[in-house]
């Protein structure tokens, strides 16, 4: 009797979430899957059941190149955000002593995100451009004679923007996990003769793994789904899967976009499924 009650109450409380996800997640996914089998004309889509979209997708070398580029971006961004995010979180968790200070520093990190991303991306141009602040400064310091061209509109700038946008998504979960490490463990390590670096490698790193995994999930999926950053920061010169999809959408090729989307979703889910094998998100929060 009580047992049933619990379920019913649970369902009631979970209902809003379930409804939102049903309407705005499950239904769209189903729709995308269905539409991926539809056909398209220049201006409209029509119901059908055909594999043309997939055939074309898998038949085109571009697909592989672009998926590869997407994974490459995801991987490099992951590696960079991990190193930077880990270090920042480490500093916050182990070197900043008061909780108030930690919160303050964290908030300071979030402020830039209140300025629209589009504005921020536009502002990279005067910063990194041929005559931008970075080049001017380097030239005035005498580090370089010629402006560095690769600062902007290159893979470098794309990755820079990714790191800029997503490092915080790495910092938060890692910080969260680090805060839960018993400080006595670090003292125990020191007591056992571990140097600072050894403590880091043998104690902190293994214990921070769950946070790293969660951060990884965030960063990887965000990068894999992005299309606007790549377009802006590469000066439209590079493509990732998101851009393929958005190009298709722009040209009203919904079925083709849907097919690409399905493959992208599958790829992301596989990556996530693999990552989830290493960490129980619910337990680690």
């Amino acid at each position: 009797m009580r047992l049933k009650n619990r379920h019913v109450l649970g369902w009631l409380e979970a209902a809003p979430l379930a409804l939102v996800l049903l309407a705005f997640l499950i239904a769209p996914i189903v729709m995308i899957v269905i539409v991926s089998f539809w056909g398209a004309t220049e201006f409209s889509i029509y119901p059908a059941f055909q594999f043309d979209n997939y055939e074309f997708l898998f038949g085109s070398p571009v697909t592989y190149r672009v998926f590869w580029a997407t994974l490459k971006y995801a991987f490099i961004t992951w590696a960079l955000t991990l190193v930077i995010g880990f270090t920042a979180a480490y500093f916050l968790a182990f070197h900043v002593r008061s909780l108030g200070m930690q919160v303050a520093l964290f908030l300071v990190c979030t402020i830039p995100f209140w300025t629209s991303n589009i504005i921020r991306m536009i502002s990279w141009i005067p910063f990194l451009g041929r005559n931008g602040i970075a080049n001017q400064t380097l030239i005035s310091w005498g580090v370089i004679d010629e402006p560095l061209e690769w600062l902007l509109y290159s893979d470098f700038s794309v990755l820079l923007a990714f790191v800029h946008l997503y490092t915080l998504f790495m910092v938060v979960p890692i910080f969260n996990t680090m805060m839960r490490i018993d400080k006595a463990l670090l003292e125990a390590a020191r007591d056992n003769g571990a140097s600072g670096f050894q403590t880091l490698v043998h104690v902190i790193l293994p214990l921070t793994k769950p946070g790293i995994m969660i951060g990884t999930i965030f960063v990887v999926t965000l990068v894999m789904g992005d299309f606007i950053t790549v377009r802006f920061m590469s000066g439209s010169q590079s493509a990732n899967v998101g851009r393929l999809i958005s190009n298709d959408i722009a040209l009203l090729q919904y079925p083709s976009a849907a097919a690409t989307a399905v493959v992208l979703l599958a790829t992301v889910m596989i990556v996530i499924a693999i990552l989830l094998r290493f960490v129980n998100i619910r337990k680690e929060l």
Partner: protein, 324 residues
């Protein structure tokens, strides 16, 4: 059996901002003995221990171990080892790897360090669980692993910060006899922080009672019990009554107080059964609370309840005058 090493505190002081946690301690610990650092919460026990271990900087003064000032050395080079309150076992390492951790840090190869770890696990009788993770052990088992890990560095002094407080009372009593046994076998100094006076009495060769950042009294357990130097010590170690005499304060042991026909009139305020004896608390007319520990048989010969009027008496010879 190894010989003990001298551990000495010289004008040891610890400040946190404005708070003085430890004030000018001077003490030489008896080498090779089981020392208990006893005191109420916040009196500076942990701070003292952690300074000795090297986990806290010394504000002033120094720590001398075996003739060498170690107060600026890193923890691992001091010849001390610490066992933490919740054991601080590395949760991601197996029992064996936990014990072998310090050897791994030194770069010893696997076979060697495993061999040595096994030796220590043997010592604490944990060989059969060497491959488990700490989370798979009971509290008592965890404690033994923590001990083995602390001992693997062959410390001259083992520092223990409330090592028994995480255990339930049953286990606590069992583990404390094991600690004591091990100390006797190894012959090194154990410096054990606790705020339980029964624990301190049961374990210690030497008791150091701290209060308010200073040492109130130090000495063999029995001496402290028999002759508390201050009212604080007398009250804190329990089983003592402090009574005001015209000539100053004195203590009398609770088991020296009897309920009789003659003596100071008082009213019983509480009766606590303790098995072998019964603790009767009574308030005298002057408002002093006096505890009398009456053997069970005697008490139930003429039982008392709260509210009853009694007369308390004691042998004058058992009065102990407080020196401070």
């Amino acid at each position: 059996m190894r010989t003990g090493y001298d551990l000495e505190l010289v004008h040891l002081t610890k400040r946190y901002g404005d708070t003085v946690a430890v004030r000018d301690l001077n003490h030489v610990f008896t080498p090779g003995s089981y020392v208990c650092l006893l005191g109420p919460s916040g009196c500076g026990k942990s701070s003292t221990l952690r300074m000795i271990a090297g986990h806290e900087d010394v504000s002033e003064g120094s720590i001398v171990l075996d003739g060498q000032d170690v107060s600026t050395l890193p923890p691992a080079q001091r010849g001390t080892a610490m066992m933490f309150q919740n054991y601080a076992l590395f949760p991601h390492l197996s029992v064996r790897d936990n014990v072998a951790f310090s050897l791994r840090m030194k770069g010893e190869d696997k076979t060697k360090r495993h061999a040595r770890a096994n030796e220590l696990l043997e010592l604490v009788d944990m060989t059969h669980l060497a491959d488990r993770l700490p989370a798979q052990l009971s509290g008592g088992q965890q404690q033994r692993v923590a001990l083995a890990r602390a001992l693997v560095t062959q410390p001259k002094v083992l520092l223990l910060d409330e090592p028994l407080s995480a255990l339930d009372p049953f286990l606590r009593i069992r583990m404390r006899s094991e600690l004591k046994k091990l100390q006797r076998e190894l012959g090194i100094t154990f410096l054990h922080v606790t705020h339980g006076q029964d624990e301190a009495l049961a374990l210690a060769d030497e008791i150091v009672v701290m209060n308010d950042a200073v040492i109130e009294q130090a000495g063999p357990a029995r001496d402290v019990w028999a002759a508390p130097r201050t009212e604080f010590v007398a009250r804190f170690i329990g089983g003592h009554n402090v009574i005001a005499l015209p000539s100053g304060k004195a203590t009398v042991r609770a088991d020296a107080v009897t309920l009789s026909d003659a003596g100071t009139p008082a009213t019983v305020t509480a009766v606590e059964y303790q098995g072998a004896s019964v603790a009767v608390t009574a308030t005298t007319e002057s408002g002093e609370e006096i505890l009398a520990l009456i053997p069970e048989a005697a008490f139930f010969g003429s039982p008392k309840s709260p509210g009853d009027a009694v007369r308390l008496s004691w042998d004058e010879g058992r009065l102990h005058r407080l020196t401070a």
